[in-house]
C-alpha cells in the first residue's frame, strides 16, 4: 500500500532558482513526521509547494496524495481534497470576520466535494464546540480574521481551522515560532487531539522543542533541498545536541 503522502524526487523552483532538488519523502496514514533543517534549506518552499502557491514551480518529480498527483492543482482544489497548511505567519485580513471566513471556507470545501453546505445554525454549533477546546471565545470569532490577534491566538486560530476542516494531510510550518511555553502546550494539545488513523501530518520546525510536545513517528533532515537523513525521535535530540552542521557534514 502506498503512503498517504508520497513525495517523489521533487524539484521546485522559485523565481527561476532551484530550491528543492530531488526531495523524496513518504508519510503513511496515521503517522506524524517531522522535518527539521537549517535556515534556507527549503522548509518553507516545501510547505508552499505542497499547498500549491503560485510562483512555486514544480519542475520535476511528483506529489501524490492518496495515490493522486497534486501537481498542477490550484490551492483551493488541494484544500477541498484534504490538504491543509498551517502557516508560520497567519495572514491578517481586516474587514472579514473570523466567523465569516471559517464558514465561507468550510462550505466552499464541502461544495467542491459535492457535500451539503452547513446552514448558519449548524455551523455556529460546530464552530463553538471546536473553539471551546482551544480556549477560543465568541469574541475572538467575531473579530476580523487574525487582525490584532496575539501570536498564540493566531496559531490557535490555525488549529481551529484544522479541526474544523478535518484534513487528511496537514502541514504545520514552524507552528512553534513566536509562542511562549503555555501557548505551545495549548497548540500542541490541539494538534495531538487531531491525530487519527486516516490522517497524516508533517511538522516543519527549526527547533526540537516542539517535538517534546508533538512526538513524531519519524524525523527527516532537510538540507540543500533534499532529505539527507531520516530516523526516529532520537535524531531530533541528536540534532539539538550536535547541531545541523555535524549532521549535514556527516551525510555529505
Amino acid at each position: 500500500m502506498t503512503a498517504l503522502l508520497d513525495i517523489r524526487d521533487l524539484h521546485v523552483e522559485v523565481g527561476g532558482k532551484p530550491i528543492l532538488k530531488g526531495l523524496t519523502l513518504s508519510v503513511p496514514a496515521g503517522e506524524v513526521h517531522a522535518i527539521m533543517g537549517p535556515n534556507g534549506s527549503g522548509k518553507s518552499t516545501l510547505s508552499y509547494a505542497l499547498a500549491g502557491r503560485d510562483g512555486y514551480e514544480v519542475t520535476g518529480g511528483d506529489i501524490l496524495y492518496r495515490g493522486e498527483s497534486l501537481v498542477g492543482l490550484a490551492p483551493e482544489e488541494r484544500a477541498s481534497k484534504g490538504v491543509f497548511l498551517a502557516l508560520q505567519y497567519p495572514i491578517e485580513i481586516p474587514g472579514v470576520t473570523t466567523m465569516t471566513f471559517l464558514r465561507t471556507a468550510l462550505n466552499a470545501q464541502k461544495k467542491a466535494r459535492g457535500e451539503q453546505p452547513l446552514d448558519a445554525a449548524q455551523f455556529l454549533r460546530l464552530v463553538r464546540a471546536k473553539a471551546k477546546t482551544l480556549n477560543i471565545n465568541d469574541d475572538m470569532l467575531k473579530r476580523p480574521l487574525n487582525a490584532g490577534f496575539s501570536g498564540g491566538e493566531k496559531k490557535r486560530a490555525e488549529i481551529l481551522q484544522m479541526s474544523l476542516f478535518e484534513p487528511g494531510f496537514a502541514v504545520l510550518d514552524e507552528t512553534d515560532s513566536g509562542l511562549d511555553i503555555d501557548a505551545l502546550k495549548l497548540v500542541s494539545e490541539g494538534v495531538n487531539a487531531l491525530r487519527a488513523p486516516d490522517r497524516a501530518m508533517l511538522v516543519i520546525t527549526h527547533y526540537q522543542r516542539l517535538l517534546d510536545y508533538i512526538v513524531p513517528d519519524a524525523v527527516h533532515v532537510l538540507a540543500g533541498g533534499r532529505i539527507i537523513k531520516s530516523g526516529g525521535r532520537d535524531l531530533a535530540l541528536e540534532l539539538e545536541k550536535s547541531g545541523y552542521d555535524a549532521v549535514v557534514k556527516a551525510a555529505a
Partner: protein, 408 residues
C-alpha cells in the same frame, strides 16, 4: 446695499471671475489630473423643462424616511418636494424672495471656477436652515433629477445653515437620463458652534454625464462636517470640498468611496484650511478600479500660522482590478504652524498576494477569494459610517455596485 442687491453683485462677480478662468484644465494645478475643458463646453445650453418620471423607487435613498427637496433640470421644484412642516427647519427657494440668511450665505466664498459658474448661471437653488439647539429627527434628502433630449447644463446652488448645537443629516442623490450633459452644483454650508452636519452623497447620472459638485463649508467652534461620497454612474465626476475650520476645535471628516469601471473618471478633491488652533481633519479616499477607470484623490491641507494643535490625517488606498486602471493620489501639506500633527499615506495596487493565497489554501475559489478581499477593502471605509438606516442605504449602494463591477 440690500440683501437682494448683494446676490446680484455676487453673481456678477462670479461671472467675471469665471470669464477670466474659463472651464478648468490640466494646466491649472488643482485640475492637473482632471482636464474638464476637454470634456465640457462652458456655453452648453441650459437644460429645458423637465419631462422625466420624477424620483424613482430605484433611488438608493428611496427607502429612507426623509424630507425630500427636488431639483429637476437644474431648477428647484417645491411642487415636487415633500416636506413635513417643522418650525425649527426653514426651507426657502433661492430667488428674489429668499430670506436674508440665505442670501448672506449664498456664494459668500469664492472657491473654484465651476462653483462660480454655478452661481453665475444658477437656474435654481434652495436654502435650508436648522434652528439653534435643534436636532433634526429626519434627514433632508436633496435629489437632483435630469432629463434632456440633447446635451445641456444644469447649474444649481444649495445653502445649508446650522444654528449653534443643531444637527442634521443631509442626503444627496442624482438621477439623470437621456442625453449626457453637465450637472454643476455648488453648496454653501455654514456650521455654527457645536453643530453637526452628516452629508451622504451618492453621485450618479446618465452614462457619459459630467458631474461637478463643489462644497464650501465654514465650520465654527466644535462643529463637525462629516461627509461621505460614493461614486455612481457617469463618465466624469469631480467632488470638490473646501472646508474652512474657522474656529477652535472645528472638525472635518471625509470618506470617499469610488468604485469605477469602463472609462469612468472620478476625482475627489478636498482643500482643508486649518485657520485656527486645535482643528481636526480626517480624510479617507478608497477606490476600486476596473477596466480603464481612473480615480484621483487630492487632499490639500493648509495650516495657517498660529493653528497649533492641528491634527490632520489622510489615507489614500486604491485597488486596481485591471492593468488599464489608473489611480492618482496627491496629498499636499502646507504647514505654517509649529505644534501640529499632519499625516498621510497612500497605497495603490493589486490585492495582497499573501491574503489571496491564504484564502485559497483554505478552499475558497480564487474568484470568491478576490471578491471577499475586495469587499474587505471597502468595509474598512464603510465602517466609518454611522449605524443608521441612511448609512446602511449608502453601504448597500456601495456593495451592490461592487457586485455589478465584479459581474461585468
Amino acid at each position: 446695499m440690500s440683501a437682494n442687491a448683494a446676490i446680484v453683485v455676487r453673481r456678477t462677480e462670479a461671472d467675471a471671475r469665471f470669464a477670466r478662468t474659463g472651464v478648468p484644465h490640466r494646466r491649472i494645478e488643482a485640475w492637473h489630473y482632471t482636464d474638464l475643458k476637454s470634456r465640457i463646453d462652458a456655453d452648453l445650453p441650459a437644460a429645458g423643462a423637465y419631462a422625466g418620471a420624477g424620483l424613482g423607487a430605484a433611488n438608493p435613498f428611496a427607502g429612507i424616511e426623509a424630507d425630500t427637496l427636488v431639483f429637476a433640470n437644474g431648477h428647484y421644484r417645491s411642487d415636487l418636494s415633500r416636506v413635513t412642516a417643522d418650525p425649527a427647519i426653514e426651507i426657502a427657494a433661492l430667488n428674489d424672495a429668499a430670506p436674508d440668511w440665505a442670501r448672506a450665505a449664498l456664494g459668500a466664498k469664492a472657491a473654484s471656477p465651476m462653483a462660480d459658474l454655478a452661481l453665475a448661471r444658477m437656474m435654481g437653488g434652495v436654502a435650508v436652515r436648522v434652528s439653534h439647539n435643534f436636532v433634526a429627527k429626519r434627514p433632508i434628502h436633496i435629489v437632483f433629477l435630469g432629463k434632456s433630449a440633447a446635451a445641456a447644463a444644469r447649474h444649481s446652488r444649495v445653502v445649508v445653515v446650522l444654528g449653534t448645537n443643531a444637527a442634521l443629516t443631509l442626503l444627496e442623490s442624482h438621477e439623470a437620463e437621456g442625453a449626457a450633459g453637465l450637472a454643476n452644483i455648488g453648496f454653501d454650508l455654514r456650521l455654527a458652534a457645536n453643530s453637526r452636519l452628516t452629508h451622504y452623497k451618492i453621485a450618479g447620472g446618465a452614462v457619459g454625464e459630467t458631474h461637478v459638485g463643489t462644497v464650501m463649508a465654514d465650520i465654527e467652534a466644535g462643529a463637525l462636517y462629516d461627509v461621505a461620497i460614493a461614486a455612481g454612474e457617469g463618465a466624469l465626476a469631480r467632488h470638490e470640498i473646501h472646508a474652512a475650520l474657522t474656529q477652535r476645535m472645528a472638525r472635518f471628516r471625509l470618506t470617499a468611496l469610488s468604485l469605477l469601471n469602463g472609462v469612468q473618471h472620478g476625482d475627489v478633491t478636498a482643500v482643508v484650511e486649518h485657520a485656527i488652533r486645535d482643528g481636526q481633519s480626517d480624510l479617507v479616499f478608497k477606490s476600486v478600479l476596473a477596466d480603464k477607470a481612473r480615480s484621483v484623490a487630492q487632499g490639500r491641507i493648509l495650516v495657517r500660522p498660529g493653528a497649533d494643535g492641528t491634527d490632520s490625517k489622510q489615507s489614500t488606498r486604491a485597488l486596481l482590478l485591471s492593468k488599464g486602471a489608473e489611480a492618482d493620489a496627491k496629498p499636499e501639506l502646507e504647514i505654517h504652524a509649529e505644534d501640529v500633527v499632519c499625516g498621510h499615506g497612500a497605497a495603490i495596487g493589486d490585492l495582497d498576494a499573501d491574503a489571496l493565497f491564504y484564502l485559497r489554501a483554505r478552499g475558497i475559489p480564487e474568484r470568491e477569494a478576490r471578491a471577499m478581499l475586495t469587499e474587505a477593502f471597502l468595509q474598512e471605509g464603510l465602517a466609518r459610517l454611522a449605524e443608521t438606516p441612511e448609512a446602511d442605504a449608502m453601504r448597500a449602494f456601495v456593495l451592490n455596485r461592487l457586485q455589478a463591477l465584479e459581474a461585468a
